[in-house]
Symmetry: C2
Subunit: 226 residues, 2 copies
Amino acid sequence: MNRVPLEGKVLSENARVAAELRERFREHRLPVLNIISSPGSGKTTLLEKTLESFSPSERVAVLTGDLQTENDANRLKRYGFPVKQITTGGTCHLDARMIEKHIADWDLEKLDLLIIENVGNLVCPSSYDLGEAAKIVLLSVTEGEDKPLKYPSIFFKSELMVLTKTDLLPYVPFDVPAAIENARRVHAEMEVVKVSCLTGNGMHEWLTWLERRKHAFLAELAHLVG
Amino acid sequence: MNRVPLEGKVLSENARVAAELRERFREHRLPVLNIISSPGSGKTTLLEKTLESFSPSERVAVLTGDLQTENDANRLKRYGFPVKQITTGGTCHLDARMIEKHIADWDLEKLDLLIIENVGNLVCPSSYDLGEAAKIVLLSVTEGEDKPLKYPSIFFKSELMVLTKTDLLPYVPFDVPAAIENARRVHAEMEVVKVSCLTGNGMHEWLTWLERRKHAFLAELAHLVG
């Protein structure tokens, strides 16, 4: 049952493809975000509200992963931006090769933001680099504030924690300061945004974070080139 | 990136150990339940309420899996029954070898029920047989009714779907009949119990299901021996 050498091969091959992707994304000055959470934490809903808020001239595209169904892509396509579903079959995460394959016919030069919605899984996606500029983890307030301690890898690797479904706070025993403290015990620099997609509370903060992160990516590129 | 041959080896070794466990559980007339869900669907809370409802003479034990922390075992130990935490490190599921190791110093002859709370993950645990008599999947009403279609493997393999957090139904856009219909599209024989651990609604049905399942296990054994 020693999985390490087996997984090591898969992960190093993934790292190689992810490095190529990262290089391509930099060449095209394209910030890529990899959004990860448990099933049902509200990734797709957050993306719906995000796309809805964008003007039609926004140059954004979305890849959305699931084991089965095109449900999420169908939900997201309604906003008029390029969206592709990645159906993994049984696989519990997206890998770099899947990303490479699904962007093959997109002109990256025409995009200013690529958002990847990973498979709903708080564990495995954290091991697979997709060439992204940043990982974002969602945690809904129905899930319990100890999740960062129980699933530390993804919280350690994410720049931002989005606390979702905050409209449910009056009805659930969720301690927001404890959740933030737990996230920062795992990752001291963790940024936090609290959002309710139902009421719209916090959407402005989230969109501001997105905008700021795009600029930081471009600034970093200029520095690398400079 | 072809994971199939690599995973095949791991899974066939797991199947071998799981078959040995199943044989041991049968020898000891011990029904074993493997509870699986997303992180934060309420597995530990359901087990807390279940243990709380048992008389001290009940011969039940619990194994609870997480990547990190002893939080769940600490919550469950308060009820006075044998409880052990399985901390998997980075591993996204429990496997049969972990179960074998953690029950090594328990006298199975003195147990009438063993409940295994798997790692919070709706994908990977479904591939790892633990020698259990039945798998149970939890789905909280905050997660969305299309989860059985998106994560079909675990719903296909589970005998029972427990819809949890039903007290939140007034505040979330969750369609209970659609969720049940989706589960039964994947697994026509799926049994369903609706529970709120906060109000206690549905706990009686859940406990009745447990009791009935224990009897069915013993009846099946008698038939096998018979």
